[in-house]
Subunit: 335 residues, 2 copies
């Protein structure tokens, strides 16, 4: 049985393991610093489909298939699937996975979805409600731009605080048997709203939620940043990262020496003109299901925190003058 | 520890109980056959706010507060909240609950959300990952119409197969101690797509998913419809209900004598001009958190199945010619 600590950190008992993972990205991500880490890439924004939304569904379908194939599992071996994405009504997930016949739990956590889905999959496996579970999410630069900002054809300019939505999908298979790093604990985030309204500065809107989740977890587990090999945040980017440092500094917590952000890792800031870094559900998902897993399998990382961050607004809420509530979910992965 | 049966029905061990519930509805629902069942209603479509979306957030906030107040609990007593709605990026849930400081798990299951959130809350409570958990969802006729169909001002006509989105929110508190009906088991649905493309006939699109989930559950538990006092589906409406009967008839299963549909219960078909009945996340949520709970507390219902059904499309997927995938999640509630 999992155990719950004071501020709700959940400690798993049975070491739910990441027995497989798959990642697929677009052209820009393939040209970035993590190029060699990803399982597959496409240079076609449409991925052979006739719309960006269908391309995004295919990204999820592909990432899941890669993860299944690596360990020789089939859809029928999977007891639950946890999936979500940024598209209205999460159609990337429902259409990408509709043919599999796997019991489906649809999530909406914006860019926090990879940690959210993995935490839920781990809990199900830990308590016996699933033997094998899949966690998957995706984003697509083109489908996100036209939904959240402007159709690409407008050629609108972006401020330096804006981030670049990652085209990609990452999938993990969590199991109660097999080999791989295990999820030791998880903490579900609270919604934190510091009244930031600039939709071109999501990093700043999400940083307070990341700070809140990290502080709760360190307090619950009586650990310090130095106890971890590396602390990955999802997609705070260059601006949001510094907001996080400031917020934690005020509480006497210094994570700088142990911290990296998936949004800062996935693109080359100078060469790729991505301003404040990568974002989107696919950002932390593809980094987790490639770079992080590779380093853990190689024993270069033994104990990490992975915190995906999400901005829970919509274009409608922003048009109506509402602020941007943030959320951050955390998982602690060990080998 | 929960136990998983062959086709993934989850049997809970520790009787997670519904210790409280709250419901709030709009004017039309208040004027319907279940008028006396709801805790609260508003005759103002804006619920005192300046947009329909903000009104929907307030519905969720209100339903949760009613449920908390009934048992004298506060936000800090709740370990997890499971919430989702129909609005793009689920802003009804994030804005409606952002001030509570409760660890938040955002869901997207369209109109299946009430059974989905309750099943997840029950699992968390059953395995010790929460002592108290809230499940909540909402919908609003006006915010749904303008997002999915046309702005109300257009006065567009609706075909007879169309359903009427319920304005309302229902919330349950699930706990590992206290009194109330308990969740005996749950089954998470698979996505089922029978290639129906008519967005004015959601009932027909969702019925195959409901049939699939009901058949899986009856097979797993070796029970028949007659073993239950009543089988509630979410919002199939009058058209979808008959599709469900036909599909189950083919498999030799007759649920007619034990079946009712929340979409057929909440409005007066003839007097209220709601065509094929009610729909929306708030439909099954408000019926569960009022009528169903009252009958169980009175001992008039002792053992029921509650199956919320969802259509996992978006306006974008429909414009692109995609079909409507359906999903149905089930919970078995007993006293």
């Amino acid at each position: 049985m999992p155990k719950m600590l004071g501020d709700r950190t959940i400690i798993f008992e049975n070491k739910p393991r990441i027995i497989s993972y798959g990642s697929v990205v677009g052209k820009k991500e393939h040209e970035g610093p993590l190029s060699e880490e990803f399982d597959e890439y496409t240079i076609d924004s449409y991925f052979g489909e006739d719309s960006y939304e269908k391309a995004e569904s295919k990204l999820q379908k592909t990432a899941v298939q890669i993860a299944l194939d690596k360990v020789g599992l089939e859809d029928s071996d999977i007891d639950k699937m946890f999936a979500g994405d940024l598209l209205n009504q999460c159609i990337g997930s429902s259409f990408g996975n509709k043919e599999r016949g796997i019991p489906f739990i649809g999530l909406y956590g914006a860019c926090s979805t990879m940690a959210l889905s993995t935490a839920l999959a781990s809990l199900f496996v830990d308590c016996g409600a699933a033997n094998n579970a899949i966690a998957v999410t995706s984003s697509h630069f083109c489908s996100a731009e036209r939904q959240y900002r402007f159709p690409l054809n407008y050629g609108s300019q972006r401020p330096q605080t804006a981030q670049w939505t990652v085209t990609g999908s990452g999938a993990l298979i969590i199991s109660n048997e097999g080999k791989g790093p295990y999820i030791d604990s998880a903490l579900f985030g609270k919604i934190v709203d510091m009244n930031i309204t600039d939709t071109n500065n999501m990093g700043a809107a999400m940083a307070p939620a990341a700070a809140d989740t990290i502080m709760r977890f360190l307090k619950d587990t009586k650990t310090t940043p130095e106890d971890y090999d590396l602390i990955f945040t999802g997609d705070l980017g260059y601006v949001g990262k510094h907001c996080l440092y400031e917020l934690l500094d005020k509480e006497g917590i210094d994570i700088k020496c142990r911290h990296t952000d998936c949004g800062c890792m996935i693109f080359d800031k100078d060469a790729q003109d991505t301003h404040s870094g990568g974002s989107g559900c696919g950002c932390s998902a593809t980094v987790l299901a490639s770079y992080v897993m590779h380093r853990m399998e190689e024993g270069k990382l033994n104990n990490i925190l992975f915190i995906s961050t999400g901005a829970l607004m919509s274009p409608t809420s922003s048009y109506q003058g509402e602020s941007i509530p943030g959320i951050a979910h955390l998982i602690n992965i060990k080998i």
